[in-house]
Subunit: 224 residues, 2 copies
DNA sequence: GCAAAAGTGTTATCCCTACACCCATGA
DNA sequence: TCATGGGTGTAGGGATAACACTTTTGC
């Protein structure tokens, strides 16, 4: 049975695609799926898919991410809408893209839905992707790096409890430079966005580190 | 004759809407049209309309702006995509919104197309708008103000030649505060984005002012 | 006692802010 | 000569950047 939906004027299809970042093995990585259907079958692409007709855009992004990869509860933000003609060989497709950040715990990846395989790729080793997804990744990365400097977005990479050295490590990976330990601590504590948990982590043959948590983990604050 | 376009799955309609700002009579103003068709006939709204099936999104935004208001050659940047269900009573509509900036010259407004009337409104006096257009305006304004502090976006309000006092006036209107003349001049010249034209403007019973132009008027530079 | 990461203050530099007077012109 | 906006420099305060040693633990 094939029902059809008819309109007086031609309508484009609308999809969402998600660039999900995490920090894994001291590198910035992002999640790709191997496409199980045409077009670009067998090629790597961003998780995403078609908007349902009564579904909010953000809901669609989260649903597709969850369906294709099993990942839920990420920080999600709208990135940009790509819509030049012929970006999809099937029909006119407008893609509303999102980028997402997740701590490197809760990661039981499972391929499902349209995805044959799901994998984290280090940002430096991203292959050629289906559609215009390489440009989407580029833009998401620029936005992430820009937001680092004027918001607390990097906290979205942290697990519930973490040490200041771990947090500094995340900033160093993202900014791709060594930071001064004392200056980093002064700066990050002055933001007044993280607090001591009172717990310490002993973690090898050295002094245990004080654990911290984000005071308001739901919010990304604008700083400066 | 009514041709129809049919799809296997339901498709939303896609529109673009544009928030066009200018500075007129020492106030931030934006362009609204009075709707000539249903829904919301007779109410004020943003210029915009349906995407044609082979048309780029940005082209659609510029085309609708031009068709409904006669304005062309503005600085245009994508803002956000609004798409929650029921934001349009007719059918599911995804709106890719843009904001635009224009100098206060070249303004032969003419209502046309779906617009019964076109008018500049001071930002503080915006009426209740059709659809969710008030939230779009709010977001555009926040983005504009934010970009002021880390980019040269304000130059897009300037005509080809201008004095430093005029430029300072634009910043004062946007930031809604008086600025120190000497500090403003030091800062703006240090950006190295404007240059003297060599011309002076004599403009009343006082010393003539040096004219400046934007070195690279096409580009909005990130500063700081 | 040694290896390894945690933790901690001070100084110099740069940038931003505050602030007041003379200049060129037209009437 | 007067009214009007155009044009100019300096000093103080606050934030940022550079920099090295002691502490706590496990083995």
């Amino acid at each position: 049975m094939t029902t059809t939906f008819c309109y007086q004027y031609p309508h484009p299809a609308v999809t969402t695609d998600v660039v999900l970042f995490t920090i894994l093995e001291t590198r910035l990585q992002l999640l790709l799926i191997r496409r199980g259907g045409e077009p670009f079958r067998g090629e790597w692409a961003l998780p995403g898919g078609f908007l349902e007709i009564d579904e909010d855009l953000e809901h669609c992004a989260k649903r597709e991410l969850s369906e294709e990869t099993g990942i839920t509860d990420v920080y999600l933000e709208q990135l940009y809408t790509f819509g030049y003609p012929d970006r999809d060989p099937r029909e006119r497709v407008i893609s509303v893209t999102y980028y997402a950040l997740s701590p490197p715990d809760r990661m039981e990846l499972r391929a499902a839905s349209d995805a044959d395989e799901v994998r984290w790729f280090p940002f430096e080793e991203i292959p050629r992707l289906a559609f215009d997804h390489n440009s989407i990744v580029e833009l998401a990365h620029r936005r992430l790096i820009a937001k680092l400097t004027y918001s607390t977005i990097a906290f979205q990479f942290m697990p519930e409890n973490f040490t200041l050295s771990e947090l500094q490590g995340v900033y160093e990976i993202l900014r791709n430079e060594k930071l001064d330990k004392r200056n980093f601590r002064k700066w990050i504590l002055a933001l007044d966005q993280i607090e001591e948990t009172g717990q310490k982590r002993r973690n090898g043959n050295h002094r245990p580190a004080m654990m911290y948590r984000v005071t308001n983990p739901e919010r990304v604050e604008i700083i400066r």
